[in-house]
């Protein structure tokens, strides 16, 4: 009954909100007709000004570079938050990789999954690096490529046994990579401050639009973001995997 009332109250409120939203939307330009002056200008001049053929990347990492730095630190803070929330609690302990107790052992991956997973790791990593490195030329960039790179690590986990693999996991290296990525963005900004007097100002030669080495600081920023996102997502994934596969209440028993 309680949920019935709840639902009715919500539907009345939502009907009101939806009416307001539709009224507001009706005042927007019709679909396909909006032509903002700012976007027109950027589409016409970004390639000449920044030598980046991907105008979205030029906006994200150059014109709005400072905002993107904040965005990167949102990601950093979230990864740290998840790591803190999912740390080993007082009443939990780590399961030993050799434990074989009844019903506690995660089923091993089948040979087909293992073979296919490992065969895909190489191409996925190459593709991730490609997406990061060509962010200023074609669709992609540090955020997208970083996530692709992180799935490479996930494939390794899937094709092996996570509990065994985490012994060889370069945990400190991943932590360091995440911090280096986040710090690298700031370092590039500070370099601009030191050399030109403004934070995140371009300090590298712009090069020819369409060349791999072009677009000034967008490429190194993409690399820093890619490193941070890849390491951050690997940390996120392994934190969640650890919850189900590694941690158990102290003294055994079902969690």
């Amino acid at each position: 009954m309680r949920s019935q009332t709840q639902r009715r109250v919500f539907l009345v409120a939502m009907a009101g909100l939806a009416a307001f939203l539709v009224w507001g939307m009706a005042g927007l330009p019709r679909f396909g007709t909006f032509a903002g002056a700012y976007s027109q200008f950027l589409n016409a001049h970004a390639v000449a000004q920044r030598a980046a053929t991907n105008v979205v990347a030029a906006i994200t990492f150059d014109y709005r570079g400072f905002d993107t730095m904040g965005e990167e630190f949102i990601l950093f803070a979230a990864v740290v938050g998840v790591a803190i929330l999912l740390r080993t609690q007082r009443d939990e302990e780590e399961r030993s990789p050799t434990e074989e107790a009844e019903g506690r052992h995660a089923p091993a991956a089948s040979n087909a999954v293992r073979a296919l997973g490992l065969a895909m790791v190489g191409p996925i990593v190459v593709f991730g690096v490609y997406v990061v490195a060509h962010g200023h030329l074609s669709p992609g960039g540090g955020f997208q490529g970083g996530v692709v790179l992180a799935t490479g690590a996930l494939l390794v986990y899937l094709s092996g046994e996570y509990v065994t693999l985490r012994r060889v996991r370069p945990e400190h290296l991943i932590d360091a990579a995440e911090s280096a990525g986040a710090g690298g963005y700031v370092a590039i900004g500070v370099l601009g401050l030191a050399m030109t007097g403004s934070f995140l100002e371009n300090v590298l030669p712009l090069g020819r639009p369409g060349a791999l080495l072009s677009a000034g600081i967008i490429l190194p920023i993409n690399a820093a973001v890619g490193l941070e996102v890849a390491a951050g997502f690997v940390l996120l994934l392994s934190e969640f995997l650890e919850q189900t596969l590694v941690l158990q209440p102290r003294g055994g028993g079902t969690p």
Partner: protein, 115 residues
Amino acid sequence: MIGHLPQLVAVWLFAVGLYGIVTSRNLVHMVICLSVAQSSTYVLLLSIGFRAGGTAPIFLDVPVGTRAVDPVVKALALTDVVVGATVTALLLALAVQAHKRHGTLDPEEFRSLRG
């Protein structure tokens, strides 16, 4: 009305997402509903930036000056996606901890379990 269809889709996505959050009986389901509500902002941003007949704002194999869609809202949508992913990860981590402490994912049951 048909000229505003994408914006109406955004309103609809937001409404069903909120409905799911309000009526949800499972925290994981609730987090997914929040993602649905949030995806309405992607639809809204991209629908505003679309220009009829425009190509992607990437001038690698088309010359500068080709009619292209708005790149600014695309950059905003990228920010939106990243923030959405991090919020989802944090909320799922909270759901894991809530399940550990209370042995349930039903938000109704937390009310009786306070403490």
